[in-house]
Symmetry: C2
Subunit: 237 residues, 2 copies
């Protein structure tokens, strides 16, 4: 039975799973769970993931959710996935686990909440919340600074000084890509100071080409929609 | 060289590491990093963990931080750690990773923030914040409900229906133990409805006895201090 990946490409962890499967030639069926139509909250989807979140996978009789757990599972179970994605060496693996854990309470909180309280929320009928956006930006900037000075310190162009990408690179870069839906001036203001981060994003894109761009197309379409909506709002005098 | 564990027993992930080492007979040196004295922000400690957080370990020349990554590392590297803590079976391991990932953005956010904005903050000179506490309580209650109905569903008394505890049981129970510093009426109001959760806490305590209680002693002392401070405040009319 083919692996089933339940996902919505607007979700950054969903994109990480899809790109990982495509890059590594894992045969899978992409099943769209449309978040904007709240399909993740249907009883049918809750049979797959009782938490009602994407991504989730079904591999034969085995169900799994939480994107980092899924990436680790796929890297360990599917033959032919190159070692650099999640090295068998326990020391390198431990360091990758450390970055993945850090991601949850730092970069993820900052990026996801900033996008929600500025651009995405209004598109979903949630009022913009400038105070919450400002707090999220603080966490986001602090996280980008730590990426630049701590996690990207080292010889290689990837996290932890790696010469090839790991699942942590893919997961975190997909998170940062969510900022593409922002107004260009906001995106540049936030990302501009972090040159190593920018270079790392390009390296990860390039290492996972052409799948990275293909899976991210949806974001640029969404951005165009958000901008169109914005331009129709009455301008402030 | 002995494993060094940099920790403060007031920190719930620090306690999980200490208990894990003690239960599994891992020889280690406990090095206190006093959070109330901001020792985690000193240049000396940032040589160990540049993120300035506990717990962190140094094992020979190898440095590691983030508690879940540390628990996984110790379970995999130290001989003699029983398999149930982090099973070699990739399917069981994947499910444990899934709970550990879920913990970050759910139970941890709810419990840690609720305690901070009610009891712990004022003790650290931070004003109580009833609105933030109410938001945290919502996340905490939702997390406890998911523990009760999803993660503790199954035959065994541990997470994922396990018959013996895993590192996820230890990590999450240590998180919930932080609620011990609350006023008794608040703790009972929050935990009261969740009978399976309460039973699971007792099972985990018992499986890690006497180390669990010994490492948690500090919480009960802290609670007494918080209550004494509270009783000295001018009462509201």
């Amino acid at each position: 039975m083919t692996l089933k990946v339940y996902s919505d490409r607007m979700s950054q962890p969903s994109r990480a799973i899809l790109i990982f499967c495509k890059v590594n030639g894992i045969d899978f069926e992409e099943i769209k769970v449309d978040l904007s139509k709240r399909q993740h909250q249907t009883p049918e989807f809750k049979e797959i993931n009782p938490l009602g979140q994407v991504p989730a996978i079904v591999d034969g009789r085995f169900k799994l959710f939480e994107s980092h757990a899924i990436l680790i599972y796929l890297a360990c179970v599917y033959p032919g996935v190159p070692d650099h994605w999640y090295p068998a060496d326990l020391f390198r693996r431990a360091k990758i686990n450390s970055v993945l854990d850090w991601h949850h309470s730092n970069l993820r909180v900052g990026a996801a909440k900033y996008v929600l309280y500025t651009v995405l929320g209004p598109a979903l009928g949630i009022q913009p919340n400038p105070q919450a956006a400002a707090e999220a930006e603080k966490i986001l900037s602090s996280s980008l600074s730590k990426l630049e000075t701590i996690w990207l310190k080292g010889k290689g162009q990837y996290l932890l000084g790696g010469l090839q990408p790991s699942i942590a690179d893919l997961s975190l870069v997909c998170e940062i890509m969510q900022l593409e839906v922002l107004d260009e001036k906001d995106r540049i203001r936030i990302l501009g100071p972090y040159k190593k981060v920018q270079q790392w994003i390009e390296s990860t894109k390039s290492a996972t080409s052409p799948h990275f761009d293909e899976v991210h197309k949806i974001l640029f379409k969404a951005k165009a929609r958000f901008q169109e909506r914005q331009s129709k709002l009455p301008s402030k005098m």
